[in-house]
């Protein structure tokens, strides 16, 4: 601190010594004390990948779908919707704070189902958000301000890397419940129930609706039923994160089953939805945040408070993506094309899982790779250790996150053989 005030002295010294000159520059800046932030563990992988010149390089980091040529895939229902929208010559006036009405309605219906009693009674509110991240953050901020219970958010172990900083920055504390069993590369059902049973009443529990990120391990329906039961007994506030509806099994209703079951058994949940993956609208930032309330009057009060939270962050959300999503969901022809395309994406992933395991067997791997097929959705928790991951990256230019998570979307019939070879090489 004293240095900041005497920067004239330092500056003079700086003329004598270059090292002290650098010190002078740091201390004459407001930002001398700002530390270098570490690169984002997930998005940083893509940045490193881009710098690599190896022609065989593979980016299995970020969860963005690729087609079998390894190219980004723009859904044809999206292109068709865009053409329809362009023809309408609409204006660019501000959306309401809570977003595009047609979108939020369709978004809620997609998650809750067309026959949802919640929607019929008007006892929920859905606001348009900046994709899944924005939805989780608004949710976190809302809970920090209004949740009467403990401000502890219980995440499954492990969870998406960004969950922790989002909830922390929103003002909540983070705790965990057991979820992934490394010895089976599957669901630690007993551990989860044990831990959930001990969670203090009214705490917040985050559940991945389907296609758990990063493990790809989902509870089976009977297991979900038991979880719902225990959660009810413990009187916990359920926060569902649904980023992969349709993308996991290929069937939107099947993927929303857990969410709907919880609601039907009396949980008034909060829910984050993303359309980044299932509609390929990544960069358009399309999402929703829903609060299921006791009645319509309460929903109105909650809505008013959500708007008060949103306004000082970004005022109102971007239109483009929400309009595309809403057009697709409400235009029967486009909706059926979408359902087919999402089914197609899920199927390609399933096929790649099968081909990877076949490839590993072919390489002569003695390990059990069944979990690669049992896991669901975009990600696969390989079970690889950090040292093995490092070798994969350094020796084979295969990029993935340190926890051993690979994005199956980055695997193609063209490179699955190379991947099998590389994984076998570091695990044999």
């Amino acid at each position: 601190m004293a240095l900041l005030k005497s920067n004239k002295v330092i500056h003079c010294l700086g003329n004598i010594s270059p090292a002290l000159g650098a010190l002078s520059s740091r201390n004459s800046s407001w930002w001398g004390g700002v530390q270098m932030g570490p690169p984002d563990p997930i998005l940083g992988v893509t940045e490193a990948f881009k710098r690599d010149t190896n022609p065989k390089k593979m980016n299995l980091g970020v969860g963005a779908y690729r087609d079998d040529q390894g190219k980004p895939f723009v859904l044809s229902c999206v292109r068709k919707a865009e053409a329809l929208i362009a023809a309408k010559q609409l204006d660019k006036e501000y959306l309401p704070i809570g977003g595009l009405g047609e979108f939020t309605k369709a978004c809620a219906q997609l998650a809750l189902g067309p026959d949802s009693e919640v929607l019929k009674s008007g006892r929920s509110i859905t606001v348009q958000t900046i994709s899944g991240t924005g939805s989780l953050r608004i949710g976190g901020n809302y809970l920090a301000r209004f949740h009467a219970g403990p401000h502890d958010v219980y995440l499954p172990k492990p969870s998406w890397g960004n969950h922790t900083p989002i909830f922390r920055d929103a003002g909540m504390q983070l705790k965990a419940y057991r979820y992934y069993d490394p010895s089976t590369c599957g669901f630690d059902f007993k551990g989860a129930l044990d831990d959930i049973t001990k969670i203090p009443e009214k705490s917040v529990i985050v559940l991945h609706a389907c296609a758990h990120n990063p493990t790809g391990v989902d509870p089976r329906p009977e297991q979900w039923k038991e979880i719902a039961d225990i959660v009810k007994k413990r009187n916990l506030l359920v926060f569902f994160d649904m980023a992969y509806q349709g993308f996991a099994s290929g069937d939107i209703d099947r993927d929303a089953w857990a969410v709907r079951h919880f609601i039907e058994t009396g949980h008034n949940i909060v829910l984050s939805q993303s359309f980044a993956k299932n509609m390929g609208l990544y960069g358009e930032r399309v999402g929703g945040f829903t609060v299921v309330c006791s009645d319509a009057e309460e929903a109105k009060r909650v809505e008013s408070q959500l708007k008060i939270l949103i306004r000082p962050i970004y005022s109102n959300p971007p239109l483009n993506g929400a309009r595309i999503a809403s057009t697709i969901l409400s235009t029967p022809e486009l909706r059926s094309i979408w359902l087919e395309e999402v089914h197609g994406m899920a199927n390609r992933i399933i096929k790649m899982r099968e081909q990877l395991v076949a490839g590993l067997k072919q390489q002569g791997s003695s390990h059990n790779w069944q979990h690669v097929i049992d896991q669901i959705g975009m990600f696969c928790f390989t079970g690889l250790k950090p040292e093995q991951v490092e070798r994969l990256t350094k020796e084979f230019s295969v990029y993935m996150t340190k926890d051993g998570r690979i994005s199956m979307a980055g695997v193609t019939s063209g490179n699955v053989g190379y991947l099998a070879e590389a994984i076998h090489a570091v695990t044999k």
Partner: protein, 366 residues
């Protein structure tokens, strides 16, 4: 028993409620002078011709996809955005000490900047650092800085209701008395809501005091080009402060000058002492963005970027902006003349002296 039964009903955001009330009003001659969105002479929203053109180009470009932008946004947008504010050939840009963070509108740029300052500005906890906003100011300034964690938000004298102009004495006095390292939110041009801007000489005095008292300039630039019709003129204050060696932030909005209100296009321009400091600052901005929206929306940024980076489109855009600015200036002129013609009591010079979208009429509540 709901967990939310104690959640109180929040009051609606005033300016949007006004529009809602306007919609419900059945009077044939109703006029909405509330929300700051440009209207044509037929009271219609206006999509800029250059925007329509660029949107068509984007729709027809099959090479474009909807992939994630980088966390800090579209690179070509960020650099072009900062150039618009500072000028292409600004020495600070040539010295590589200017960076941009693409944000969701001007609001988003303010919020990211505010979140950063609360964490890193003067030590690592700035919740007690005073933040000064003009009296009056855009109502959301208070909300943004409060929710970013600042506990001490204070007004600085600005609008003199008696003389219907700038309270320069009060303003300078507040600058002199502000604790060192306080943050000041300055409207780059077309002050919202008063339409009253400091003159260049007045800006120089403000700058001198701020430098001496080590106050941080955080410019809110929502109307560049829209105020006078000239990008350069409307950015004069920002550029002057940069030339005076300040480190500063500029929250830029492209909502009004591009008419892209609902695509949420903004840019937080950061001017630092040097590249090294800038790099660390941007790395921390990334952390903040990542837990707020992960990465920004691409549509609006692509439109603005293509326009700013293509000479013919850039020229067309400047023309469109001048059209809007000129119409507003004409309306000011016509309103004042009609009031004079009607023999309305009082003086109405302030209507033409003020600048930008808003006019502080001086009308009382009734």
């Amino acid at each position: 028993m709901s967990l939310f039964s104690d959640v109180p009903q929040a009051p609606p955001v005033a300016v949007f409620k006004l529009t809602a009330d306007f919609r419900e009003d059945s009077h044939p001659q109703k006029v909405n002078l509330g929300v700051g969105a440009y209207r044509t002479d037929d009271c219609q929203p206006w999509v800029l011709p250059v925007v329509k053109k660029v949107e068509r180009l984007l729709v027809e470009d099959d090479s474009l996809n909807h992939e994630y932008l980088p966390i800090l946004g579209l690179p070509e947008f960020r650099s072009a955005g900062s150039k618009v504010a500072l000028g292409d050939d600004n020495p600070a840009i040539n010295e590589n000490r200017v960076g941009g963070v693409q944000a969701l509108g001007g609001t988003g740029a303010l919020r990211i900047g505010a979140d950063f300052l609360r964490r890193w500005y003067n030590g690592v906890n700035n919740t007690a650092t005073p933040v000064y906003v003009s009296a009056p100011t855009w109502e959301n300034h208070n909300g943004v800085f409060t929710d970013a964690g600042f506990k001490d938000i204070r007004p600085y004298h600005y609008w003199d209701a008696a003389k219907r102009g700038l309270d320069l004495t009060g303003l300078l006095d507040d600058l002199e008395k502000a604790p060192e390292h306080s943050i000041f939110i300055l409207h780059a041009c077309a002050h919202n809501p008063t339409g009253t801007d400091p003159t260049q000489e007045e800006w120089k005095t403000i700058s001198e005091i701020m430098k001496r008292r080590k106050l941080f300039p955080f410019f809110d630039s929502a109307y560049q080009g829209f105020a006078s019709g000239s990008l350069e003129k409307d950015a004069w204050a920002i550029r002057f402060f940069v030339s005076e060696g300040f480190e500063l932030f500029v929250a830029q909005s492209f909502s009004k000058n591009f008419g892209l209100y609902n695509e949420r296009v903004g840019n937080l321009t950061v001017v630092s002492k040097d590249t090294e400091n800038l790099t660390r600052v941007l790395s921390q901005m990334e952390k903040i963005v990542r837990t707020t929206w992960s990465n920004p929306p691409s549509q609006g940024a692509r439109i603005v970027s293509k326009t700013l980076n293509t000479p013919e489109l850039f020229a067309e855009w400047k023309d469109n902006v001048k059209t809007m600015a000129d119409r507003v200036l004409l309306m000011r002129d016509q309103l004042k003349n009609k009031l004079l013609a009607l023999g309305t009591p009082g003086t109405w010079d302030h209507i033409t002296q003020q600048i930008g979208m808003f006019s502080f009429t001086g009308l009382n509540r009734e």
